[in-house]
Symmetry: C2
DNA sequence: TCTATATTTGAACATATGTTCAAATATTCT
DNA sequence: AGAATATTTGAACATATGTTCAAATATAGA
């Protein structure tokens, strides 16, 4: 914070009120990590695919036109951020969305994008 | 795509079906840009503040503990991505969330985070 | 046990990102 | 017009990110 601006008295009330309602830094970080996971075209593409069906790493590589390795790296991020879960079946590892909030959010985001033409 | 994995015939049906339903690359990019905007703790903090009230750059600097310049840079990104709008009032520029989808999405994201304890 | 296939992992590299600093604009007030 | 304040802008810099490549694991079948 190098620069300083003067906070007017009328603004001070607002500011204090807003500060009180703000989520903790911990929540802020967790939520931004969540959005960050969806904020990359390759990962989002994977997530869109998983909205439709359970898919293995190889399938996702095929669908997304990414190398198997790149997909696997991105899946690790999605796994860490609790956006996908997986089950092993022989040599395959099948991924799916971890809960319905993800779908809800994606649907609203799609609406949002389509609305501002 | 350096590595190759064999796609089994049973998987091929799935893959084609999923591919058909996938959003276009353009939509994918727009939606991931949208999430990307929310995927940074500083910007998300600004957005959380704007959920509560309309605020000017100086107020937001105060609330977020970022320099005025840093806030302004981040606001430009939020403006470009259509997440906030602004109105000028004298020397101040007041920002607000551009539509209710943003609030809806933030609420669901907060629920999502709080659920996986 | 050996081979083939699916997946993961780690290092390396180029690119993207966020903040700071200094300077430029914009607006109001005297 | 000149001073003061709010905001924006652009360059610079350090850090983070995404992909590739090569190598390591894991599992199934011969």
């Amino acid at each position: 914070m190098a620069e300083v601006c003067e906070v007017h008295k009328q603004h001070m009330d607002k500011i204090l009120k807003v500060k009180k309602k703000l989520p903790s830094q911990e929540i802020d970080l967790e939520v931004s990590d969540f959005f960050d996971a969806l904020g990359n075209p390759s990962r989002l593409n994977i997530v869109f695919a998983l909205m439709e069906d359970e898919l293995c790493t190889c399938d996702l590589s095929n669908i997304s036109n990414l190398s198997v390795s790149a997909v696997s790296h991105q899946l690790r991020i999605l796994k860490d951020r609790k956006i996908v879960t997986y089950r092993k079946d022989g040599k395959n590892v099948f991924y799916r969305l971890s809960d319905n909030h993800i779908k809800d959010i994606l649907k609203i985001a799609l609406e949002h994008i389509k609305e501002d033409h």
